[in-house]
Point group: C2
Chain length 500, copies 2
């Protein structure tokens, strides 16, 4: 990847001055058009070796454009907050919304490369990280992010000279850290690791652009020209009209049998039995939630189900056993303006709990493959790729040691009718039933199909779906409580104090 | 993945009869339309457990459609021919051309799953294989293949019953092999491995479809309906018109410096020195080519360069040292009709040598990022993704132990003019110069840019580009000969008798 960048590139002052003025105007103009257009965000990754002009370039771009609409984020050692979430969380938080420009110093590529150079991870783990990055970047591109990746390069000789210059000048001496010196000694190993890394994470849509960093004018023009061309090209694209989907990409069962219909929805449980069980499992959950080992990981639980299936009631029986400071409830409704300006999963990533805490999602990211699929709120290609994206997202949580529990509360169509009617009669429940609920009910079969595909495609060994027979609320609540409690207890027993 | 398929699905005879007739007509009709349309091939993967009706379904589809335009390929233990090429080679060979339907029994998914179940490979290697499959299938989809993946499933109980039935009947007893019995004992482990495999290799474009296999009518309808719907949808799609590319996705250098211009093209070598060197290196190459360890691997060498740079001459100095039975020359011209009906790389895969042999490509797969890019024969997205595809392709060769050598023969623009003029003057060389050559020459700068991007993005540690200064033919020929000879000698010294 560095063949061209190793050459002694150079741009004359006069050439630079003439072009810089034009580029500056062009970039500012493009930035305002992006802001007004608001269709996509621009995410710029700034990576590469020390002393190659990364910060200088970012500062200059901030100077040339309107810095109010640019957000530069530097990722150094992760904070407490960040260490308690999956590694990608810190980057998710900082993603620029549509219409804006984000610049990331040291993004998701840094850790794998450094760890591989330091031999903290083996070739297998490195390969896995590369695959994860490929899929993550693919997701960003599919979600419309204009992803531009610049790698600032210096040859070994150039870097040596540069570090020497910085160290000799009292004003810049502070910039050369021990880490820089240590990394410089490992120059060859860095090249050996980052060269294939760049090649493997370069795709047609988001290739790495290697920027020769030794000549300031040369590197500035390289980045500015490419950035401007890329923004102009995307701004000039007309949105492609997709043909409406004619045929389902996933087959419906050829008989009427599916995982929901196979459930025996009426499960017996008396009120007295319920009271006894409730006390028992709430007690156990409370004890588990106060276990010191729970300081090492977090719990994410998802509640999905038919309208009026009793999600809220089941959830209250869980939170009733917990310290209010230890959990957050997230009721998922239509996305906010801020959320609509981000990739689909962003609004869920932002609510991930710290270690030792719970987040309960009343409806969740599964909306993508349920309501959005059925109602056509997103395209077929979007919800089809969502299965993979969701599995990747939950996979990141699981690898981080998080407990992921997913509940589908199922009631029969007749039971739903009874409950809807009941809600309409009882004054304090009337707010819970709307025309929307009746409309959804008419699409019962389509929702059923979507639920079954969801279970087939996202139920994994470590994050299985629990299908809850919910015609009897007592049974449903106990099953949910018990399942969650057992999952937490099992995680506490994992070697290493709970953390995987 | 198997939640729904584990249910006892069933279709009544009357329902089946009614629908089968319609499906049969529909499929035949779609097949002829596909043949006439000729825009894409259909590739059907048939996978899953033994006894789940894989072969029955394929036989039935062959009966329902016109079998003359269907090619079913079963992949059992690889042949000698196949073992001497990378693992994917056998599948490449069997790909259906545009307009046709191919059915693969036991394709690229089989080996990784079986090896992981048998614990012959670890989790890291399994992950690497999954990533390779994801990229390979992505390439097929990008090349327009309609890829349909059916996984035939039986629950443990169903498979037990099925194997018993087959074994009890004297007419079918032969179908139950020892391997089937052994695999059945490992049923749970197979599920544990194939479940995440299916999830991870399911993409929005090519998801695995799990087919419950116990009920013959049910499974037939499931596959036939889905196949018909998928074919109809693709046949109904209008080709999307791409906007012409306005801006280059890769930046040109900001100065006039690049890896080609950095070469000192005039290298000294006298005729006498040349004769001496030629004798020495041809001798060494001949000895190396007859080394018994060379039986373990193969050599692929690529010759690219400016028009009239002397590719043919350099190549003849190599083949002059070799036994004519040990090498094949492939002169790459415009693709044949058969080749145009296949993915881009197909016409190169087909020429891969057996162990102990050489294949020399006079022009190669790099045409995609050279002439096709410059002349606009393919879209920007196509040649941009080609870098990754080429790296994957060469990566497969390297992992298989193959030696990959790549030469770019570079001459100056003035030297090219001199040679063109000379060719026009000399009668027996006149056939070598056409209007095409003069036209290409006018695009010198665009080609130069494409070559530099190619070198940056495809020169790897194990398959580096050798840039050959070729104004002096003597120097060029010796450099090529020496580089190839040394690469072969180094490979012979690898532990394990040459094979990696």
């Amino acid at each position: 990847m560095f063949e061209s960048a190793n050459l002694k590139h150079h741009v004359d002052k006069s050439v630079y001055r003439r072009e810089a003025t034009k580029l500056r105007q062009g970039l500012l103009h493009a930035q305002y058009e992006l802001l007004k257009d608001g269709r996509f965000p621009v995410l710029i990754l700034i990576a590469g070796v020390e002393g190659a002009g990364k910060s200088e370039t970012v500062n200059l771009l901030n100077e040339w454009m309107d810095p109010r609409h640019i957000r530069a984020s530097a990722f150094f050692d992760p904070s407490d907050e960040e260490r308690e979430r999956p590694a990608l969380w810190r980057f998710w938080r900082a993603l620029p919304p549509k219409g804006r420009i984000g610049m990331f110093f040291g993004a998701w590529h840094t850790m794998p490369i450094v760890q591989r150079v330091m031999r903290e991870i083996g070739e297998g783990e490195f390969t896995r990280e590369i695959a994860e990055i490929q899929r993550f970047e693919q997701m960003l591109c599919d979600e419309g992010v204009l992803l531009l990746k610049y790698w600032f390069h210096l040859s070994r000789r150039q870097q040596k000279k540069r570090l020497q210059e910085l160290a000799d000048d009292p004003k810049t001496r502070w910039r050369v850290t021990d880490r820089d010196r240590q990394y410089f000694k490992l120059y060859k190993r860095f090249v050996k690791v980052s060269d294939p890394f760049l090649r493997k994470t370069s795709t047609g849509e988001a290739p790495w652009i290697v920027v020769p960093g030794a000549d300031p004018r040369y590197r500035t023009l390289t980045v500015a020209r490419h950035l401007l061309a890329a923004m102009r090209e995307r701004l000039g694209e007309k949105p492609v009209k997709r043909l409406p989907d004619k045929t389902p990409p996933l087959p419906a069962p050829g008989d009427r049998l599916n995982v929901l219909r196979a459930l025996e929805l009426d499960q017996p449980m008396t009120k007295a039995e319920y009271a006894k069980q409730l006390e028992k499992w709430q007690g156990r959950l409370n004890v588990a939630s106060r276990d010191p080992r729970f300081k090492q990981f977090s719990v994410v639980a998802v509640f999905e189900g038919n309208d009026a299936a009793g999600k809220g009631g089941a959830l209250r029986r869980i939170t009733g056993a917990l310290d209010a400071r230890s959990y957050t409830n997230v009721a998922v409704a239509a996305p906010s303006e801020e959320e609509r300006a981000q990739p689909y999963l962003w609004r869920f990533w932002r609510h991930l709990p710290r270690a030792g805490r719970f987040t309960f999602f009343d409806r969740s990211w599964y909306g993508r493959v349920l309501v959005e699929r059925v109602e056509g709120f997103c395209g077929e290609a979007d919800w089809m790729r969502a299965y993979t994206e969701i599995n990747d997202f939950e996979g990141a949580l699981l690898r981080h040691g998080c407990v992921v529990a997913k509940f589908w509360l199922a009631i029969s169509k007749a039971e739903q009718y009874r409950r809807f009617k009941l809600r309409e009669r009882i004054a304090f429940k009337r707010f819970k039933i709307t025309g929307e609920d009746w409309r959804n009910r008419r699409k019962w079969d389509a929702y059923e199909l979507a639920v079954c595909d969801m279970v087939d495609r996202t139920s994994t060994a470590l994050a299985p779906w629990t299908l809850v027979e919910a015609n009897n609320k007592y049974h449903a609540r106990i099953k949910v409580l018990k399942t969650l409690c057992r999952a937490l207890e099992a995680a506490l027993e994992r070697p290493g104090g709970g953390k995987k």
